[in-house]
C-alpha cells in the first residue's frame, strides 16, 4: 500500500500551464538576435525622441567654413554635411521623421487591412469578392512603382508619402488577414460559439481577432523594413520630406554631390536606414519562429 505523503507532494515540481502568448514571449526573450535587434531599435527610437536633451549641436545650424568635415573631426565626431551641419545631430534628429514616415504607413495599413481582411474573410460571399477583387488590382503594380506613382501624382510632402505607402501596404495586409480569417472561420470552436448563440460581433472580437492578429502582426513587422526603405527612397527622390528637415533619405540625396569630397560621411544616413531595416526584419523572423510552437 502506497500513500503519497505530504512531503512527496510538496517535492513534486510545480508546473503551471503557461498560456500561448506567455510561451511565445519567453521564447523570444531567449533569442539573442531578436533581443539585440529590439535593443538597437529602442536605442535609436529613444535617441530620436529625446534628441533635444542629449546636448547635441543644432541640426539646422550650418556654416560655410566647416562644410564636409571628415568623420572623427574634433567636436564633429561624425563630420559635417554639405552645409556644414553636424552629422551626428542630424542622424539622431533624422530618426524622428524617418521612423515616423517609415512606421506610420504600416500601422495605418495594419488597421485598415486587418479590418478589411477580417470582414472579407468572415462575411465571405459577394462582399469578399468585391473586396478581394479590388485588392487584386493593386497587386497588378509592383509596389515601388505604385508608391512612386501615387506620390508623384499627389506631389511631394510627408503626408502624401505616408498616404501613398499606406495604399501600397493595405492590399498586402488585407490578403494575409483574409486568408488567415478564412482559415479560422471554419474552426470548430467558432462553430461552437455560433451554436451557443454568440452574435457576429462577439465572435469577431473574441474568437477571430485573437486568433488572427498574431500572424498579421508578424507579417506587418516584416513590412516595416520595406516601408523604411521605400519611405526614405521617396525622400531620396525628392518626393517625401523637404529640406532642411533632417531625414535619412533626404540627407542621402543632398549628400550625393559630396561623394567625391567626403564619401564616407555621405554614406552615413544609409547606414541608419540599413540598421533599422535589418533589425525589423530579424525581429520579424524571430517572432515568426517563436510563435511556431510546434517546433
Amino acid at each position: 500500500m502506497t500513500v503519497i505523503t505530504d512531503t512527496a507532494l510538496q517535492a513534486a515540481p510545480v508546473t503551471k500551464a503557461r498560456g500561448y502568448w506567455a510561451t511565445v514571449g519567453r521564447r523570444i526573450s531567449r533569442d539573442k538576435v531578436s533581443m539585440a535587434c529590439a535593443v538597437i531599435l529602442l536605442l535609436i527610437l529613444l535617441a530620436a525622441i529625446f534628441a533635444p536633451y542629449l546636448g547635441l549641436a543644432d541640426p539646422y545650424q550650418g556654416s560655410m567654413i566647416r562644410r564636409l568635415r571628415a568623420i572623427g573631426t574634433p567636436n564633429y565626431p561624425l563630420g559635417t554635411d554639405e552645409l556644414g551641419r553636424d552629422m551626428l545631430a542630424r542622424l539622431i534628429y533624422g530618426g524622428r521623421l524617418s521612423l515616423l514616415i517609415g512606421i506610420l504607413p504600416v500601422i495605418l495599413a495594419f488597421i485598415i487591412g486587418t479590418s478589411l481582411g477580417l470582414v472579407a474573410g468572415y462575411v465571405g460571399g459577394k462582399l469578399n469578392t468585391a473586396i478581394m477583387r479590388t485588392i487584386d488590382v493593386f497587386y497588378a503594380f509592383p509596389s515601388v512603382l505604385l508608391a512612386i506613382a501615387i506620390s508623384g501624382a499627389l506631389g511631394a510632402g510627408i503626408v502624401n508619402s505616408i498616404v501613398s505607402l499606406t495604399i501600397v501596404f493595405v492590399p498586402q495586409i488585407t490578403r494575409v488577414a483574409e486568408s488567415v480569417t478564412t482559415g479560422v472561420r471554419n474552426m470548430d470552436y467558432v462553430e461552437a460559439a455560433r451554436a451557443s448563440g454568440a452574435d457576429t460581433f462577439t465572435i469577431m472580437r473574441v474568437h477571430m481577432l485573437g486568433n488572427v492578429l498574431g500572424s498579421i502582426f508578424v507579417y506587418a513587422t516584416g513590412l516595416i523594413s520595406v516601408s523604411m526603405i521605400l519611405a526614405a527612397g521617396l525622400s531620396f527622390l525628392g518626393l517625401g520630406t523637404k529640406p532642411p528637415e533632417p531625414e535619412w533619405g533626404l540627407m542621402l540625396n543632398t549628400l550625393r554631390t559630396a561623394i567625391y569630397v567626403n564619401p564616407w560621411v555621405a554614406a552615413l544616413p544609409g547606414v541608419m536606414i540599413f540598421a533599422v531595416s535589418i533589425c525589423f526584419n530579424l525581429l520579424s523572423d524571430g517572432m515568426r519562429s517563436a510563435m511556431d510552437i510546434r517546433n
Binding site: 488590382v137 503594380f141 509592383p142 508623384g152 523594413s225 531620396f236 535589418i278
Partner: protein, 317 residues
C-alpha cells in the same frame, strides 16, 4: 491545359482595364492644372482653352478615359508635354534599357540566390546555413539606392575602375555589346540584384528544408539512392515555386527600377518616370506607369501558366 490558359487570359482582361483606370485616375487626382507644365505664366485664357481642347482636358472624365483607352489600344498614348514626342516610343525605348538591366541583375541575383538557398536548406543549422542566411537578410534589408552609392564610392571614386553614371558616351542610342559599354551596366546590375538574391535565397532555403523533411526523401535514401540523385528530387519539387518567385522578382525589377536608375542615371523607364514626375509631364507619367504595369500583369500571367504547366499538382481543369 488550353482551357486553363484561356481562363487565365480572360481573367487578366478586367485586371488590365482596372490597371488602365488606376493609371488614368492617378493623373486626375493630381493637384493643379495638367497644363501647368506647358503654359507660360502669362498665357491668355484663350490659349489655355485652346490647349485644353487640344489635349482633350475639356471633356468629362469618363469620356476622356474611354478615348484614352481607345487610343491606347491603337498604340497611341499621346505625346509628351515636355518634348512633344510620342509617349509610346519614348517609353518603349526606355523599357528596352530597363529590361537589359533587369535581365543582367536577374542572372546575378537568381544564380546566387538559388545557390545560397540550396546549400543553406541542405546544410540546415550549420555554419554554411548561417552565412547564407545572413547574406540573404542583408540583401533584403539594404536600401538598394544607398548600396548603389556605396558601390560608386568604392569602384568609381576610390578605385576608379568602373564608371559612376550613364550608359556610355552617346547615351543609350549608341549602345553596343562591348566592354566599353558593358562596364556601365555592372554597378547598376549588381545593385539591382541584391533584393532578388535575398528573396530567392530565403524562398529556396525554406523550400529545400520542407522537402528534405518529407517522408519520400526518407524512402529515397532508404532504397539506397545516391545523395546527388536525392538532391535532384529536391530541385524538381522546389522548381515550380522557385520559378514563380523569380518571375515575380523579375517584374519587380522592371517596375521598381526608378531608385537605382536615378542613382546611376541609367536611361531606362525609371529615369523616364522620374523626369515625368518632376516636369509634371502627365501624358508621359500616365503612359510610363501603364506600360510598366501591363508588363507586370503579363509577366504574372506567364509565370502562372509556366507554373501550371510544369507542376502536375496544380489543377488545370
Amino acid at each position: 491545359m488550353f482551357s486553363y490558359v484561356a481562363r487565365r487570359v480572360v481573367y487578366a482582361i478586367p485586371i488590365i482595364l482596372s490597371v488602365a483606370l488606376v493609371c488614368f485616375l492617378l493623373v486626375h487626382i493630381t493637384p493643379g492644372d495638367p497644363l501647368v507644365a506647358v503654359l507660360p505664366a502669362d498665357a491668355s485664357q484663350e490659349l489655355a482653352q485652346q490647349l485644353r481642347v487640344a489635349y482633350g482636358f475639356d471633356k468629362p472624365l469618363p469620356v476622356q478615359f474611354g478615348l484614352w483607352v481607345w487610343r491606347a489600344l491603337h498604340g497611341d498614348l499621346g505625346s509628351s508635354i515636355a518634348t512633344g514626342r510620342p509617349v509610346l516610343a519614348e517609353v518603349l525605348n526606355a523599357v528596352r534599357n530597363t529590361v537589359m538591366l533587369a535581365v543582367f541583375a536577374a542572372a546575378i541575383g537568381f544564380t546566387l540566390g538559388l545557390f545560397f538557398g540550396l546549400i543553406a536548406g541542405y546544410f540546415r543549422d550549420t555554419w554554411v546555413d548561417k552565412v547564407a542566411t545572413s547574406i540573404a537578410i542583408a540583401g533584403v534589408s539594404v536600401p538598394h539606392y544607398w548600396l548603389g552609392m556605396v558601390l560608386v564610392i568604392i569602384f568609381s571614386v576610390q578605385l576608379n575602375w568602373l564608371p559612376a553614371v550613364g550608359a556610355g558616351s552617346g547615351g543609350s542610342a549608341a549602345w553596343a555589346w562591348d566592354w566599353e559599354h558593358m562596364k556601365y551596366l555592372i554597378l547598376p546590375a549588381v545593385t539591382t540584384s541584391v533584393i532578388p538574391m535575398g528573396i530567392v535565397t530565403r524562398t529556396v532555403r525554406a523550400l529545400t528544408g520542407d522537402i528534405l523533411s518529407q517522408d519520400f526523401v526518407e524512402a529515397l535514401r532508404a532504397k539506397g539512392l545516391q545523395e546527388f540523385k536525392v538532391f535532384r528530387h529536391v530541385i524538381k519539387n522546389a522548381a515550380p515555386t522557385a520559378l514563380a518567385v523569380m518571375g515575380l522578382q523579375l517584374g519587380y525589377m522592371l517596375g521598381g527600377s526608378i531608385l537605382i536608375e536615378t542613382v546611376f542615371s541609367w536611361p531606362g523607364s525609371g529615369l523616364l518616370l522620374n523626369s515625368a514626375i518632376f516636369q509634371r509631364d502627365l501624358p508621359l507619367l500616365q503612359g510610363t506607369i501603364l506600360v510598366l504595369a501591363l508588363f507586370f500583369v503579363f509577366l504574372n500571367l506567364l509565370v502562372d501558366i509556366a507554373q501550371a504547366s510544369i507542376d502536375p499538382r496544380i489543377k488545370r481543369a
